[in-house]
Subunit: 211 residues, 2 copies
């Protein structure tokens, strides 16, 4: 005969496993810069390659040793992380708090959707300066998802969902975009304003609340 406390252990283990499978880690993205090769050339010298400092959760992506100062009409922000590798088009991702500091008014956008976005000036440690015409956005909150996790959650690339998280500042984020690729690891990304608004600490997880 099965012993009750063993059964409880089994149930608890299954619930824990299911909970893990039906939720994903939420990461806070600090302000950061992606650069195209011509901008890298202009800021760091022709043919320069960004130097990986530490890997990010998304496979192949890294924080580089290179840092830049952002200069806008109202102010500047020093020591901003440059992420690698190089992209097709330079892109600056800010929080609305940052945007106010600089005096720019970026729209809420998915990564790479850069038409009609404002520019900003990038300044390197050696004092080289490049003004980009466009590319400044506030990133729409999103979940990077592997194809197998997308299948598990019953969502597809481009879906917009609500994501619930618990805690003292628990909330349900609306308008969260699902992005599916076999180049992704499954993680939700929010900016620092959003992370603070929900009291995010390392390891906190979210659940798709409504599809």
């Amino acid at each position: 005969m099965m012993k009750t406390d063993n059964l409880n252990d089994i149930v608890e283990a299954i619930v824990a496993e299911l909970r893990k499978k039906t939720s994903f880690e939420i990461e806070a993205s600090a302000r950061h810069i992606h650069l195209d090769q011509p901008t890298i050339d202009a800021l760091f010298g022709a043919g320069h390659q960004l130097t990986p400092k530490r890997p990010l959760s998304q496979p192949g992506q890294f924080v580089s040793e290179e840092r830049l100062t952002l200069v806008g009409p109202n102010g500047k922000i020093a020591n901003v992380a440059v992420l690698g590798p190089a992209r097709k088009q330079s892109q600056v991702e800010l929080s609305l708090t940052d945007a106010r500091t600089l005096g720019v008014t970026p729209p809420l956008r998915e990564s790479g959707h850069l038409d009609q976005t404002p520019g900003v000036t990038l300044v390197s440690a050696s004092g080289k300066s490049v003004g980009i015409e466009s590319g400044v956005i506030v990133a729409q909150r999103h979940v990077h998802m592997t194809p197998s996790d997308a299948k598990l959650y019953g969502v597809k690339n481009g879906d917009v969902v609500d994501v619930k998280m618990t805690g003292d500042r628990g909330l349900i984020f609306g308008n969260v975009v699902i992005r599916v690729s076999d180049r992704f690891a499954t993680r939700m990304h929010v900016d620092f304003d959003e992370a603070n608004a929900c009291g995010l600490t390392k390891g906190m997880r979210g659940t798709i609340y409504k599809k």
Copy 2:
């Protein structure tokens, strides 16, 4: 016979009126300071009274002409608003972004619940400095409500509800405290992190989503 377009006009007017009655304006509270009279005396001179600059939405409350610099272990923030009138105990309300800048770790609290909260140093324009032992908090999001509105919404003082708002960054805030007093005007207050996380602009309204 009633004309259909007239009926539509009437329905639309009723819906707009109901929507207004079942929602309330959300205001972003910037970082600010409340002072007790001994601290006012120490910073601005014995018997000094705070000078009203502009009224706040809550009756009798005002932004004063006085401004202070906050100094913490890691940094300082200049030009912080002092709200009047004087209170029984000094209280500093910060966003988590501000707390990181100063290097303090305030808990999430309702206004006035100041036991076991960290202190900070307050510095006046003339260079007078006062260290408060406690009183620094991150304000728990809350709705100030008149007794008649509380009746309308079916909530009472101390209730914790969810509040929904729409828009590009629409979300549902959990753990929102209802505070009822005949000294209040009905307004929800969030800090700047929360305002940015939900893309708050002036006049946006929230609805009690779940009681």
